[in-house]
């Protein structure tokens, strides 16, 4: 095995190359040989990690759960973004629909994002069911299956969910709070839609490795990553593009709900 640590990254957007060239440069400056390998979808990246083509996979929560299952729980996690902790999904509703609680969703048209989006489809459906709303019976589900394979990274399906609620094609919808906060800041709502429910917190992306016992082998890489500083201009540029303020150590409790959700949906069957 070469000394160069190979990190797999799904190219959901051209900026991914800019981000990872920046990260690679940062690691080079810290005397750590690292390269990145682009994948067009998470399934291919998961296979590459399991086959040993890459050492680390920059995974969505769904991809992590998949690796976890396929390694029988032997995989490890090195780090995640600050924003990957405490992630939530929001149920949003048209301002004129009168929907104020989850109970009000019964009989209504509810929009969801791509079927492989943790934040805009899998987890919202799971949480709704937990709260007594069966998505397959109690509501009319509208799906926006866009960019399937990229696990909702592109955000296009969440844009469609929001637009559907704004223009009345749907009464309500589910989006991740990252997109929701952006919509608030960028004034995309036009007072036509508001959040009515927040899911329990969960975790999102992480750097997954094949074997937990290898975490020490990557310690230098992980420590250098965690040392990136938002208050330093060059590092700030990279962190801003990747949408975080700092990298943090993993908090694996935050994946429990997704494990249950994929089992219930038989997602990987």
């Amino acid at each position: 095995m070469s000394d160069v640590i190979k990190v797999g990254v799904v190219a959901y957007d051209p900026k991914v190359v800019t981000i990872w060239e920046g990260i690679k440069e940062y690691f080079t400056a810290h005397s750590i040989a690292m390269d990145f390998v682009l994948f067009s979808n998470y399934d291919a990246q998961c296979d590459a990690l399991l086959d040993g083509w890459i050492d680390i996979a920059w995974n969505t929560n769904l991809a992590y759960v998949k690796i976890y299952r396929r390694t029988g729980g032997n995989c490890g996690v090195l780090a995640m973004r600050d924003v990957d902790v405490g992630f939530t999904s929001k149920v949003i509703a048209g301002a004129k629909t009168g929907i104020q609680t989850l109970r009000d969703l019964k009989g209504k048209r509810v929009a969801f994002g791509s079927r492989d989006s943790g934040q805009a489809a899998i987890l919202p459906r799971y949480f709704l069911k937990q709260n007594g709303i069966d998505p397959s019976q109690d509501i009319t589900a509208i799906r926006f299956d866009l960019d399937v394979g990229k696990h909702g990274d592109t955000g296009t399906s969440e844009v469609e969910v929001l637009n559907a609620v704004i223009n009345g094609e749907a009464d309500a919808g589910a989006v991740g709070d990252q997109y929701w906060a952006r919509a608030l800041t960028e004034n995309l709502l036009d007072n036509a839609v508001r959040a009515v429910w927040t899911s329990p917190e969960y975790c999102h992306c992480n750097f997954t490795i094949r074997e937990k016992t290898d975490e020490r082998r990557f310690a230098a890489w992980t420590n250098a990553l965690l040392a990136m500083d938002y208050n330093k201009p060059a590092e700030r540029k990279i962190l801003e593009m990747e949408g975080l303020k700092r990298w943090v150590r993993p908090q694996l409790d935050g994946y429990r709900a997704l494990f249950e959700a994929v089992d219930e949906l038989r997602f990987f069957n």
Binding site: D82, A181, L184, L188, A195, N231
Partner: protein, 418 residues
Amino acid sequence: MNYDSSTSVDARELSAADGLLILITRALDKLKPGDTLEILSDNASTQHDLPAWSRLNAHRWLGTVAQNGRWRHRIEKGSVLRVLTDKELDWGNRAPIKDGRFDTRNWLLGRAGEIQRTAQPSDGFAPRGASVEEGSPEFEFDVLERNRAWSHGAAEFYEQATAGHWDASRDIPWRELHTLDEDLERAICQLMTFLAENEFSALYVPAKWIARIHPHFAETVLFLATQVRDEARHIEVFVKRALANGGGLQFSSASTQASLKTLMDQQDFVQASFMLSVLGEGTFLDLLRYIETHAPDQVTREIARRTRIDETRHVHFALDHIRSVLQSDAGLKDSLYRAIANRASILSGMKGLNPLVEESLVILAAGGLSPDRLSSATKARIQLYETMHENRVRRLTAIGFSNREAEEVSELHTPNFM
């Protein structure tokens, strides 16, 4: 509003999409990392919106309590800087405004008045005194030294310039033009052609330096911008005079072009300013006075008078600038001398002023080609050259040259006047 380590804002019905985030952001700006902000709200959706916003902006969400139909949210300010700078901002300096007038000389307030010895390339286009974020790009300005680029007088000359602008279309008594003797009109047209080409160099040279002087030395840049504006007006008015009375633009000589090109080719701001404004425009003052004195018509006279007033300002600015440069570094006098000598050697093939221009000066003073007046007019032209030399020497000694040095530099000056 005064904030301490724990602060409260009442947002009433405001929603996150409707300005609440600005209210919160500005309140957090006044707190230190670790301080707590309490937000009172009557809007139910804030309990869903604010936790997401806090998380993505690296503030700690401390929770919500519903109370009497209102929501009480708490956020702990995070440690991330919104703008990456540790420089303090000025606040509370009030400018002295007299009789409703805020004079540029009085704008040296607080950090806006701190003229750095060397300007920072990464301060870029930020106005002096602003707090510039780290990571801003480095600009390629190459005049960065205070003792090269800044002088105390610049603000005053800038004030004079902005007050003295005039309009070449309207402020010249164009309706007073009348047909002149053809030889005389031709001479005036030749002089106007010559003046216009010289003024093009007087526009392009400062324009080139504006782009190279660091904006930290704003007074200099602003003054040079007025100089560029002045020269634009001069080009306009000289060309208009050549075209106005049935004549037309005349010859531009290779020697004049060669002389002016050496001004554009200067690679040092102080040397360029010295050559263009102290020597060149200085010499032009006497030329314009001569034209004003001998002009046969009110229009040409008024043009010469108005342009001379502008040029006087340029000369005084440059004298003040070069004097302060030489005061801070007397050794620069040698480099100015060398630059002048170098220019003279480049122009050594130049026999003298464009003969067409020289003849036109005589014809102007003679009022035409009448033999009985040409003799005294020739003497007037010779006297003009002597006056130009004397005044150059006077200006050079005023900024620190010895009499002998001044004589030598003046003799080396281009016969093209500019």
